[in-house]
Amino acid sequence: MSRSFVVRAGAYSVRAGRRTLAVSFALLLAALGLAVLGLSLGGSWSSPQEVLSALAGHGDAVVVVREWRLPRVAAALVFGAALGLAGAIFQNLTRNALGSPDIVGLDAGSYTGALFAITVLGGTSAQLAVSSIAGGLLTAGAVYALSLRSGLSGLRLIVVGIAANAMLTALNSWIVLRAELDVALAATGWSAGSLNGIDWDELTLPFIVITALALLLVTLSHGMHQSALGDEVALASGVRLNRLRLLLVLAGVGCTATVTAVAGPIVFVSLAAPQIGRLLTGAAGVALVPAALSGAVLLLAADLTAQLLLAPVALPVGVVTTVIGGCYLIGLLVRRTWRNGRG
């Protein structure tokens, strides 16, 4: 029996292994379950029936569910998927498990921008968003320009990125060191990444941007997987490598910057989600769909935990993503070691 399926739609066809399909489906179910849980949780508990009827527009909980909880759950799902995609892109591009947007200095640059907004400007949320995006994009642009030299090599990009990241991180901790304690605390709070108090007004534009980038990725994914097999294979099959890499970097940077502008840097999802997806599917490359789904589940689960852990104090979700994602990654690695040891 065939172990993979081919789905055709017009000129595009997608080939997916059965295990990948099963894992993706399971992740989707997990995301749905967590979403219902997220809509039920809050200052007061609503039963799943109440949630469903509130979504349809009936009952007492309509405002709470649709205006307060839904944006947060949706943001966690979409942002998580975006971060997972960004991570998958960078890990494919650099062919390195450590390749993630944080490594090319994007997070550190955003933080520098935000620190500028907080310490110099006054730190309104609009200033924070603009400064952090500008900081992140400037850094990414500089890293990209510095790593171009008769074509873009993945490893060169990563080394230049690490260098830029190290400079900015040092600069950031120095600014925090010199600042007053309460300013330093506020800045550190932003750097943790948080979905607290998010609403629809803030989400419309980011959702449109992320959807557009995801569509762009659909058209690029074939070339991306070809180039993962090696530059020669990719060139032989007609992939224009430099254009492909530029577009991929743009998509990855765009996803991360969009999320950072709204929620602050939510670390570790980009690094962990592709690895988790890869370990679950057992696939050789870093596939986009499992990475996106893993990211969505990871961020939503983390956000729920952040709300519950020390309730009524809501922790920044970034604190929890690092802890949960890290523990889960360790668990997967340990299980794999154990299995290999026996087999």
């Binding site: 390195n96 498990a97 450590l98 510095l146 790593s147 030299r149 090599s153 490893l155 060169r156 990563i158 080394v159 230049v160 690490i162 260098a163 830029a164 190290a166 400079m167 991180t169 040092a170 600069l171 901790s173 120095w174 925090v176 060191l177 304690l181 330093a184 605390l185 550190t188 709070g189 943790a192 670390v267 570790f268 690094l271 962990a272 690895q275 104090v313 922790l315 920044p316 970034g318 604190v319 929890v320 993503t321 690092t322 802890v323 994602g325 890290g326 523990c327 990654l329 360790i330 690695l333 340990v334 794999r336 070691t337 290999n340 040891g341």
Partner: protein
Amino acid sequence: MLVASVLLLFVVVVASVCVGAQAIAPAEVWRALTGAAGGDEYLIVREVRLPRTVLGVCVGAALGTAGTLVQTLTRNPLAEPGILGVSAGAGFAINLGGLLGLAGGQAAQLALAFLGAVLAAVLVYALGSASPLQLVLTGVALSAVLSGISLGLRLMLPDVFDRYRFWSIGSLAGHEQVPLALPAATIAVALVCAAAVTRPLNALVLGDEVAQALGGHVLRTRLSVLVLVTLLAGAATAAAGPIAFLGLMVPHLARRSAGGSIPWLMAYTMVLGPVLLLASDIGARVLLPTGEVPVAVVTAFVGAPVLIWAVRRRGAVSP
């Protein structure tokens, strides 16, 4: 080349004792060292500059060597000692100590940091010893877990945060009065062992099978390298705070002179590490008129452009 590097180290050491807020002529330094001079110069040289220089040499050599060992072992040119959870473990221990009210004095902080670094690294090896890639991933994952919990602690406890932010950016300043004999001795012993482990490591670079065929003990070599990295990076981080990037940077520079031989690479690393750190520390003292810059800021701002230039000029070198 190696002779030139050693000469450079000598120049930097002399400069490190002479240069500062108050410049002291080499002749004065000599008289202060031999005990002939009295007064301010004597105090500055004997009590501040000399310990600081010795600390710089130890920490620089330790971080550089740890970086070379990790990069060689994991065959990943991006690996650095911090990736094995050493800095995250040290930071976590300091935060936890702050929560429990233990991290009062500098000596307590030093002990906590070292303990945290060693425990984190041991945990990483225990979980990820199957393959080099797995080791790196486990280290990254555990670092994330520890730094996430630390960040949560800091956000809830402002006074822990206040103390941590001063530790969290590595500096050689203000560490002169700390009991440094133990970390320095640990580093010295570990450096000697690192020199001894270069030959089996040289075989291991060719692959596990080849190393075995050449009569090397693959597991024993790997384990001793990991123990050495922990001791070196742990002691250095405990003594001076996290100085990221030095462990990543020095092997990349040394590799260009060493030409593929691990023993030569190690020799260059042990000389270039202190040169880079001391030069940065001198810069840290005189760069800004307003006061000292933490040395970790300078290593990053000096080292990163050099690394970028090197990568652009010759392409990334794989270990």
